[in-house]
Amino acid sequence: MADPASTPLGKMLLEEITPVVMVLCTPYVEESCLKNVPVRTASDQPYRLRKFKLRLFYSSDIRQPNLEVAKERLKKVITHVGEKNFLESSDPSQVNNLLSSKFTFDFDIFSILAVGFLGGPESEMLPSWFQFFNKELVRTLSFSDHEAFDHPVACLLVVSSKDDEPVNRFVDLFNTNKLPSLLNDGAMDPKIMKHYLLLHDNQDGPFNKATKLLADMRNAFGQNDCQIICFNSSQDGKIHHQDNPWAPFVNYLTLRDYYKSDALPTENLGGFLNLDDLNEIKDFMQELSSKHIIPYMEQKIRVLNQQVSATRKGFRNQIKNLWWRKGKEDTIDTPNGPVYTFNSIESQIRILGDYAFMLGDYELALSNYRLISTDYKLDKAWKRYAGVQEMMGLTYFLLDQSRKEAEYCMENAFNTYLKLGSAGRRNTTRCGLWWAEMLKTRDQLKEAATVYFRICGEDTLHSAVMLEQASFCYLLSKPPMLHKYGFHLVLSGDHYKKCDQIKHAIRTYRSAIPVYKGTTWSLIKDHVHFHIGQWYALLGMYDVAVTHMLEVLASTHQSKTTQELFLRDFLQIVQKTGKTFEVLKLQLPVINISSLKVIFEDQRTNASAAAARVKESLWRSLEEDIIPSSTARSNWLELQSKIMPRKYKESNICVAGEALKVDIEFKNPLQIPISVSSVSLMCELSANPEEGKLPKCMYICIHAFTVFLLLGGSNILLLYATADMGVLHDDCRDINSCLILSEVDFSLEGGETTVVQLTVTPRIEGILKIVGVKWKLSSAVVGLCNFEFNPVNKRVGRGRRKQHSPCSDLKFLVIKSLPRLEGFIHSLPEKTYAGDLRPLVLELSNQSKFPVKNLKMKISNPRFLYAGNQKELNADFPACLKKKMNVEKSGRHASVNKTLQNLYHFPEDISVQEETSLSWPLWFHAAVPGNIPLYITIYYEMEGVSSIMKYRTLRMHYNLQVLPSLDVSFQLSTRPSRLQEFLLRMDVVNKTSSECFQVHQLSSIGQQWEISLLQPVDSILPSQSLFAGQSLSCFFMLKHSPLDLIILKISLQDRRRSSTSEDSIPSLSHIQSDVRLGPQDNSEAFFDVSSSPLADFHDCERSSQGMSSQVVNFLALTFFICITINQNLMLLPFIFFLYQGCEYKVDFVFITQLPKGNSDSSSNTPLVFSHHACDCSPSSMSPISWLVDGPRTIQHNFSDPLCEVNLKMTITNSSDAIASVHINTFDSPSSNNQPIDDATASQPPEHQSGWSEIPIVNDTKIITTEALTTCVPKSLSLESVPQFIWSGTSSTKLVLQPRSTAEIPLQICVFTPGIYDISNYVLNWNLTPDGENQGEANKSSGVCQGYPYYLSVLESNFKD
């Protein structure tokens, strides 16, 4: 370690703990000194000789300083420093200069290194005013009674030569009345060395008088102790010194002078003193100290040392002392310990120690301090004890011995002072300061910081400074403790704030910012920024305040009240600034850049916002076949590339006059509502550099030139310039007149997120760039957000150029205005019931000045929407759907292909003229329930408007919610008793909750089916309405007649010939393919299921419900070759079906209506519902079918007991294989059971199903098969009381060739009259696969239970 004396603490001690010289002077002296501007020139002048210093004090100052005054003075100092530093730091360029530059790195090793390396000399970082402050703080403690180093060593009596009787004046001066109280009350030794000085002002008179006076003085007071000083020799006071003559001593001037020195004019300082005067003063001081004071002190030390040795040194003295003190112990009770006068031995020792200390004999000082400290401890004179301990610590330090001892002493002293409470408060401070300094000198900065922290007491201002010093200690410690640094700065700032030292508070808080920057300690950051903002606002610096308040605005983690407070304060401050701020990164509300979605329309236009949100890929797949093919497009691109500069080929195109929409998501991160207004886009519209501006410019130039020619040629350059300016002016106007920007206002609740759609409409051609968005928060602050500054992945809505940089996505080439069709489908319901069938009108309007043509339309889901015929536009619905009797049938225009491809070409002569609109009928059918998206694309071409864009597409998107309405299911089964006849069971359940449906009709598709009701509807459904939740089962007979073939053929030919022949219609009409389910007496016509739109929708249903239509097509194709001669392709499927025999498949359309007047008669109520079912086939088709035929009723005279009945069983094998059939008959019902059970066990369940007809009492009652198969045999066994027996063999076996029929005669014998159910037989059939025919392999065998055949045998009364 370096010489302790050269350390800051050492220097301080050498300066502070020096002999005091008391100055007593007369008023005249003051007066003449005042001529030289420094107030107390002579008296305050210190002198420096070999580091020996004297402190000179007025006698009036030798007292304990007034606490309040001292405090006030310190406060002034701090305020002053605050102002000064604040001005420096508020200079924006210096904001970062001192410390923050070293904290640009975050908390890592780099910042530590940076502080270490860049920190440089510590003094640079440590504000210098701390030193002054500390000194001044220490100095407030001077002349305390328990310490001796402030005791005056000598007394300097000064009398002016102007005074009357100077000699007497000297005597008067050292009058005890005027002496400081400390000297009088015995704390200090009044018998001190006196030195007499005569001061002669040369301006007041000749020197002779003074010398005479000096002689008198010398006579009176002694030769050596009297001296004279002449000064103010300069006559006019014009002598200018090079520098302040007191400058060498200025570091010893009090802080008050330091503070004043800034304010005082320095040029005239010491103006009346010439060089001789100064030298004289210097010599005098030198003489005083070397010849008088030092020898005097040495003398005193010697005397005191002897005294102390005599009384206290040596074993005997110690014992005596100890004993003496023990005895004294009980009597002492005062808190400050006993009072020691200056001549008590304790005081003497202390003085001895202090004198030795002042003269640099630290060893002697230390031994004396040690001696006295035990005494004070025993005496419980704690304050003195602490003082001595303190001095011991300092002595140890200056001796550079035993650090531990030094620290121990200091701590001891500190704690002892602390124990004294408020009395020792300031001593604590001083002791702590010295201690901290000591630790700092030894690089124990962390410990020093803790000491500073401990110094903090009730005086908040001092605490603030101490805390700040502590923070610097943490910063300078190695490694730097930045967290602690920040914390203590903030603490210090709080204390400053409490003392209204706002500037200091701001300064400390600001220094702390870099510490917390980049961390996630959000509460801290908010606290710091918020308070800085508040304090700046208090100072009226609203601009800076706002920048800090901005930091805390988006504090999501804070409580609601805090957020409210932040926002309120922020707005108040902004209001006070009186201007609107534009803030680039305003955090409120938060803009979700990734949500940015630009919706623009080039050749693709959207009919609604919903259409714009649909994925581009979906549209593209839909539009694939209607937009010009790829080769055509490449040509088009080539064309485009010629026109557009390459640079912009990639950029997006938009059309002038059409709005670009930008969706942005705003989020309120706070819990409190905020209001946002005037949200708009920021855009730049510049002329297209190569297409727009140049031609324009040239055009104007030419124009100018012609003007010039007309004028007769005066100044072509001028005109040219004017023209150019015109263009420039045009550019400047852009934002105002060439763009229309939308403005949106909204307010966000706490935590709410909202998507705002902003639009910009360019009105002229050029290049449009969307720069960003701006908004106004609470109509006070304008927030800006530039889209490009955020390198977040951006997805532009249309997705076509996702791989491009966002900048290019936000750049648009604006082309000349083009026609744009608006499309709308009138009265398309949003919510409807499944099966809803209704006409709709598509309205296309063209607002532009140009016609569009070549319209095409593609619909994503033809099951739901279908383009109609133009003449259907005004047709009466639903009447237009009905069959028109005796009028020509509207042919199904060859729409099969179109329907399949969902593409509809408008007739070529259709175009949408300028400023008109076109209506087109559409048919709508809600085919299936669910949420159904509908996509419609309409393609159209413009003529000669733009070379860049030749066609456009209009995209429409609707979402339908189709609710389930009727659940219709069909079950078809062969009718056991009839060949080619089927039973159809229709189950309808009304699944709606409120609607009531009126059943209307059931139609089968294809004319070869005849359908009829088994029983009248009135009996099943008297109301003809299905109420909510009601279900209905209905049975129909379905008949397939091969005869139809011919009729069909005719009818189809009819249609082909556009129904020219009238004669075919009657023959068609007898085929009843529709069944009326409504009121039978109603003469209402049937809905025509064979014409558009029902037929078209049915085709769609077919294609979507099953593959059968394709099967038909395939088969039709195979037959094509054979029957081409007939020129009738439409017949083929039917032919196929007919000959196939077993492949019975039938389609049904079930039509219901909403009862008229049921709901309100608004146009949106569905009227007609159609439900389509395709490919219904008999559920169980056994290849073997049979028919028992015979008489139903016979009359027999039972006088002849045996009645034989002959029956005939016709068995048909409808399969392609040879079948062997085994007919078992059994007589008793009990024996009947067994084979049935076997059959149920062995056969798959579908073989049991099937429909049987039992004529029970109520003829209309229907029992389902499921019940029948299980219960019939048993019920039979119970019910059939009369017996009959089969005659003939009980088992017949026969072999049936494929597709052949055989007849077997059967006979039964009946004995009594009655009704007999002849069903107790079983057919076991077995298919023998005929070689390659594997089709029926899985159904190679089966058992068929006989179906009931009722025979009534009556008693005949007539005799033969």
């Binding site: 943490y474 490694p479 509460l523």
Partner: protein, 126 residues
């Protein structure tokens, strides 16, 4: 600092204690550093997780995160055992949340489950 809005005070104290933790964590192998810092009557205790185990347990691409996880607790009482068990259980919870592949080590834990669990532990032990 007797302020009415003293919500940030615990953060300040804990943050300031980081300096000491940084020093101490390298000098001792103990996981629990008791009473490392004080402010007035508030005491800071710290639980230092074992960095190595943490790193190994993460998938390989997370290795470049050097995770120094410290749990810091600001408390006034001195029930050492309670604090110890509290820290251990919180550590377990933390490891569980680390195992979430979507959680980026070092980021804020947003799971409300974690929150309530820690709250329950605090009620149990402290």
């Amino acid at each position: 600092m007797q302020r009415e809005d003293a919500a940030q005070l615990p953060q300040f104290i804990l943050q300031a204690a980081l300096d000491i933790v940084q020093d101490l964590a390298w000098t001792t192998s103990a996981m629990i550093l008791k009473t490392i810092d004080k402010f007035n009557d508030l005491v800071v205790s710290v639980y230092v997780t074992d960095d190595h185990i943490l790193n190994i347990s993460k998938p390989i691409h997370f290795l470049h995160f050097i995770i120094h996880t410290r749990f810091m607790l600001l408390h006034d009482s001195r029930s050492d055992d309670g604090i110890k068990s509290f820290f251990q259980e919180v550590h377990e919870l933390y490891i569980k949340s680390l195992l979430n592949p979507l959680y980026l080590p070092g980021s804020r834990i947003t799971s409300s489950h974690f929150d309530t669990k820690v709250g329950a532990l605090a009620r149990k032990y402290l």
